[in-house]
Amino acid sequence: MNPIMKFIHLMGSPPWFYQFSGRLIPWLWGLFVVLAACGLYLGLVKAPPDYLQGESARIMYIHVPSAWMSMMIYALMAVMGFVGLVWHVRIAEILAISSAPIGALFTAVALASGSLWGRPTWGTYWVWDARLTSELVLLFLYLGVIGLYSAFDEPRKAARAASLLALVGLVNLPIIHYSVTWWNTLHQGSSIGASGSSIHPSMLWPLLIMALATKFYYAANLLSRARIRLIEQDQRKNWVRELLQEGTA
């Protein structure tokens, strides 16, 4: 069996996945902190204010990366859910379900920072602007997946139902996004979006670094949530008993 297949096979066994991810998490958190600090420093201190919106554009360095993350996590959740649904890979199911709260979190961050950014630029906290509206609909999609998962008693059935819903949601995501954008141009004309204007390199670098930082946050958080769900589900199994008795968790 070639190494990649061997790795995938090993990843499938709960104890191995638990140990492997356990070693990985500290590094991921480390990378997140370093990248975030560097991104924030560049974004908040070094980068010039936007010539149009002035200082408030600095909110872009948290708003845009979390908006990207909210969509990326939904897509990843749906793909992992698909793998769990079709090949009944339990770890894929757990990773998909553990991604949902993180995705909802990033959507909330995007909405909050977007509305706080709107106050100085558009004069109100909420404008039915294309991006904010589709973020809001995305939040409802996340709440639907989380709500459906928590409505079932049996965890495996809950994971499969939520994964199926995530898949249906993924098919609809681009349609929702473009219909909202088209709807927005009908009613208001295209509003000046930060990413619309061409980005000066000194502002592009912090944006990309922050985007990278949020990916490591997601990876670290996902693995720690997946580990707990694994322990919770296998608490009666031997490997958990041995693990906890050694106290090396």
Partner: protein
């Protein structure tokens, strides 16, 4: 022939019953026994293809299966005749057989009443009519004798007997005394799935 190897289903990450293996040839009946909650219904639903096993497999080369569970799939708002008519059409049977089947299961008198007005025994007979309507060679019956009066039980014995004679096979669960009379049966006792 139905061959099952190392079959079980996990619920809440624990097997509902200890993995089972058996083979069931044409003309034979398998009796599944075990205490309440030992997973009899789960096993029979696994064999019916409603549930997907967490482990092991069930290879069945009987070309069609029919399953009668605790829920009898009889519509309260339809009459007995309409219920059977739907069951028959759903399996591609002509309407002519419906009247003979109604007579056979002894529901001729109530044939045009709504199923809502039937007694538990009559509803069970209405559900058992599904066996006659389907040409399935593998019968999967979950406690078929419950709610049946003595005539009903002997009717079912007769049906089973004829089915096995004709080269069919049958898996039925039962608890306690309600057993098919005069049938060659092999038995399978389910142990509850202890924590592995």
């Amino acid at each position: 022939m139905l061959s099952v190897s190392d079959l079980t289903l996990e619920r809440y990450f624990e097997p509902v019953f200890r993995p089972v293996s058996f083979t069931l040839k044409a003309g034979r009946a398998l009796l599944i026994t075990g205490a309440n909650g030992s997973g009899k219904t789960t096993l029979i639903r696994l064999l019916a293809g409603v549930l997907r096993p967490s482990q092991g497999e069930a290879r069945c080369d009987f070309e069609r299966r029919v399953y009668i569970g605790h829920q009898l799939a009889v519509k309260d708002d339809l009459s007995v005749r309409e219920n059977l008519h739907f069951m028959g059409k759903f399996q591609g049977r002509g309407a002519s057989d419906i009247e003979d089947v109604i007579h056979h299961v002894g529901l001729r008198r109530v044939a045009s009443q709504l199923a809502r007005t039937l007694s538990a025994g009559q509803r069970k007979r209405c559900a058992l009519a599904r066996l006659l309507l389907s040409e399935a060679s593998l019968w999967l019956l979950d406690e078929p004798y419950s709610n049946l009066d003595p005539q009903g039980m002997s009717m079912l014995d007769g049906m089973l007997h004829r089915h096995l004679q004709a080269g069919g096979a049958c898996v039925l669960t039962t608890h306690g005394s309600l057993l098919p009379q005069g049938l060659e049966t092999q038995e399978l006792r389910l142990e509850s799935g202890a924590a592995t």
